[in-house]
């Protein structure tokens, strides 16, 4: 059992309850032991840093200070929410890069009897831990019910691979970590072109029409690729795409019914865990129909996709790293 400190963030207990439930279920099989940071507070989401600097960093750093106090030799702090991951990383990074900021934050923290030395903790996203610490080999070993026939659109959103202070991700425009994980689960992964585009963030509240357009782009693109479900790694992305999908349909006179799930939910399914324990049913756009494809042996039907790979008469495509892997 590898031990990590864990920062859940507000959404895990409310809008992303399914993420939390499914994550708790898969931790055991993955050999992960998460210890929650005691009495953590909100990271400020995408709002606090917009209107202040020192208070915003102080708010974030209270969590870092609590975590480092609790660490007991554990260096890695895991966040499951992309915004939380980015904010925690940002505070750690800028407190080191701008010592004057670090000092001021520590002066403020001292009012609460706390302190934080940047660099003490290593802040990582849950997906990073699964890919790079657990490893896909272990994941593959745990798969008992491959998600065969399920077409998934891997959607990361913007905050995980960018700005990537520690250079942990494969690419900041087109990372393939989530693709590889979902392939390891046996799913059919589409080459989702908008995988790191914006979900709208808080635009759904501030300027709904802007958000609706961003949501529409993502869902319609996944739909064009005949994806059965979209898979996210972030509560905010899931919330926007799922909860606002109906309103978006209303606004554009469309009728998309694209279920949006967390990657931990699909991991749980592939590991043979009961869907009820994985928070299925909490999504507003039901995944029931898509789920019915799993477990039922559907005949291998080649889904129609846009002409991407060469036809036999065409010119060869350039080789990409990982191409051999696919043909095996």
């Amino acid at each position: 059992m590898s031990k990590y400190l864990f920062y859940p963030g507000c959404a895990m207990q409310t809008s992303a309850r399914a993420y939390n439930e499914s994550m708790q279920e898969v931790l055991g099989p993955l050999g992960l032991n998460f210890e929650e940071v005691r009495d953590w507070n909100c990271c400020g989401a995408t709002e606090y840093l917009g209107i202040s600097t020192v208070p915003a960093y102080a708010l974030i750093s209270r969590n870092l200070a609590l975590a480092s106090r609790q660490s007991n030799g554990v260096k890695t702090l895991v966040a499951s929410c992309s915004a939380c991951y980015l904010n925690l990383s940002k505070a750690d990074h800028y407190m080191a890069e701008r010592p004057s900021l670090g000092q001021m934050v520590n002066v403020a923290l001292a009012e609460g009897g706390l302190e934080y030395t940047p660099g003490t903790l290593e802040i990582r996203h849950l997906l990073d831990i699964v890919i790079n610490e657990v490893g896909l080999d272990v994941v593959k070993e745990r798969v008992t019910h491959p998600l065969k026939g399920l077409r998934v659109a891997p959607y990361l959103g913007c905050m995980v691979p960018r700005p990537d202070y520690e250079k942990r991700w494969s690419d900041y425009e087109y990372p393939d970590e989530l693709d590889r994980l979902l392939k390891a689960l046996g799913a059919e992964v589409i080459d989702f072109p908008l995988k790191t585009h914006c979900c709208g963030g808080h635009m759904a509240q501030i300027s709904p029409t802007t958000a609706f357009e961003l949501i529409r782009r993502l869902i319609s693109s996944a739909d064009n690729y005949k994806a059965d479900v979209m898979v996210t790694v972030c509560p905010m992305c899931q919330m926007n795409l799922d909860a606002y999908q109906n309103e978006t349909n209303h606004y554009f006179h469309t009728n998309y019914k694209m279920p949006v799930l967390f990657f931990t939910q699909l991991m749980g399914l592939a590991f043979g865990i009961d869907a009820k324990k994985l928070g299925f049913g909490r999504e507003l756009v039901s995944a029931k129909e898509a789920m019915s494809r799993i477990g039922i042996e559907v005949p291998q039907e080649e889904p129609k996709t846009p002409a991407r790979r060469k036809k036999t008469t065409g010119l060869p495509m350039p080789k990409m790293p990982g191409d051999e892997e696919e043909t095996q």
């Binding site: 507000c10 959404a11 207990q13 409310t14 809008s15 992303a16 309850r17 009495d39 953590w40 507070n41 909100c42 400020g44 989401a45 709002e47 606090y48 840093l49 917009g50 209107i51 202040s52 600097t53 020192v54 208070p55 960093y57 102080a58 708010l59 209270r62 001021m104 934050v105 002066v107 403020a108 923290l109 001292a110 009012e111 609460g112 009897g113 706390l114 808080h202 509240q205 501030i206 300027s207 709904p208 909860a243 606002y244 109906n246 309103e247 209303h250 049913g281 909490r282 507003l284």
Partner: protein, 96 residues
């Protein structure tokens, strides 16, 4: 990105955006409870800025409530006094 946003807010370089007000509402909630409070945030923000959209929002809100994805009451952290002390010191240090 946030630098631009905060500069824009400071200079009031926006006309009809509700973003600064939303940020402030959000921050107020966090400062009071230590956690975000979506129900309070959503109702307050929508009532203030988009009252006419509330009916169309209702199904979504009800859905979120019925699926236990939104709490009607806010959550508090234990160390709220500690947090308030930290933040008030931080505000003094903020160079505007």
């Amino acid at each position: 990105m946030y630098t631009l946003k905060s500069m824009a807010i400071q200079d009031k370089a926006y006309k009809d955006s509700t973003a600064p007000d939303f940020s402030q509402t959000f921050v107020d909630m966090v400062e009071n409870y230590g956690r975000s409070y979506e129900f309070g945030l959503a109702t307050r923000h929508y009532l203030k800025h988009f009252p006419l959209r509330l009916p169309s929002m209702a199904p979504m809100g009800l859905g979120m409530l019925s699926k236990k994805r939104m709490d009607i009451t806010p959550k508090h952290i234990e160390g709220i006094d500690q947090l308030k002390a930290i933040l008030s010191r931080a505000k003094e240090l903020e160079v505007v």
